[in-house]
Symmetry: C2
DNA sequence: TTTGTTGCAAAACGTTTGCAGCCTC
DNA sequence: GAGGCTGCAAACGTTTTGCAACAAA
């Protein structure tokens, strides 16, 4: 048994060939289940946000999500924030706070649990995967704490910024 | 050789009996070295901020640091933020962005590299140490990235919030 | 003397909140 | 029909910025 009782991880097992449609459908089901269990309403806005996120790749922030949705849907900023909070609670989305800038989100659709390299020079964020690190962290148990998900950020200098610093 | 070229970790090796005075003195030396190497000025305000941090324990944020310093020293909020940025760059201080709240800082004085459990229910942050996790992460090398420090946050529910959720 | 650094206050920024009206249940 | 949820805009709190004065080099 994995200490990380993460709905999404369990739902989307290792399957690199998984169709996108299928993933979106599964995500919708998970959201529906979550809303029902918590006696929350199944509003079209909530599904619209979910869809928009599932059609995109990589990191995004609340503002970019809001902007991207204008035109296609009519959803307010407040609803974007509200819905992100719900998706966070249902483990369909993960939130990162890299620099001091705005929060970054990611869908937990694929099984690609990864870690982050954040350059303190230019602020760029790269991803990397390390099975050994992942399993080590996920194997850890806690007496009075139920882990849901984790974020590992390694801060340092990318090669470009390292060179810049040398020249000075 | 450790991939983490962290000034502070190298400077303060495992030594649980280290005198606080000594640690402060070492930290001042490190700051001086950093300022000189980067052609920055050794202002009294910068050393005052360093001292105040070194006399405290645990996490703090910019505002609490600023407030605590009023009376004893006369340092502006802007200088607090500026100096924290310098201490961050010199790896004398580490910065965390837990929830959506303000950033938390910590001195890197002792060798207690630790990880964090963040409760998504009440927002409380607990620390834990795990040598296995630590060494696994620190052993990792990167082709085009020089790691400085890392933060590992495990988000989940503390036992109190877990019980609350059940009752609903 | 030069110019990096300071204090102050205003501005910026992401996020949250209050409220009237809407729509799910 | 009740009240959870929405859009809108104003408010919030943290962090950044602009600028004149100061002081380290």
């Amino acid at each position: 048994m994995c200490g990380f009782a993460c709905l999404a991880w369990a739902m989307f097992p290792h399957d690199t060939g998984m169709k996108e449609e299928y993933a979106l459908e599964k995500a919708k089901e998970a959201l529906t289940k979550f809303l029902q269990e918590n006696h929350l309403r199944k509003t079209p806005e909530r599904y619209a946000v979910l869809e928009r996120i599932w059609r995109s790749e990589g990191h995004f922030n609340a503002e970019s999500l809001y902007r991207d949705m204008q035109g296609e849907y009519r959803v307010s900023r407040a609803t974007v924030y509200n819905t992100l909070e719900l998706l966070l609670q249902s483990h369909l989305v993960v939130k990162h706070q890299f620099g001091q800038q705005e929060a970054q989100y990611e869908k937990v659709a694929t099984d690609k649990v990864h870690h982050h390299l954040v350059c303190t020079g230019c602020g760029k964020v790269k991803e990397f995967s390390d099975k050994h690190i992942r399993t080590t962290i996920q194997a850890r148990r806690f007496a009075y704490f139920e882990p849901g998900y984790y974020t590992l950020c390694i801060y340092g200098l990318c090669s470009k910024c390292k060179q810049k610093r040398r020249k000075q």
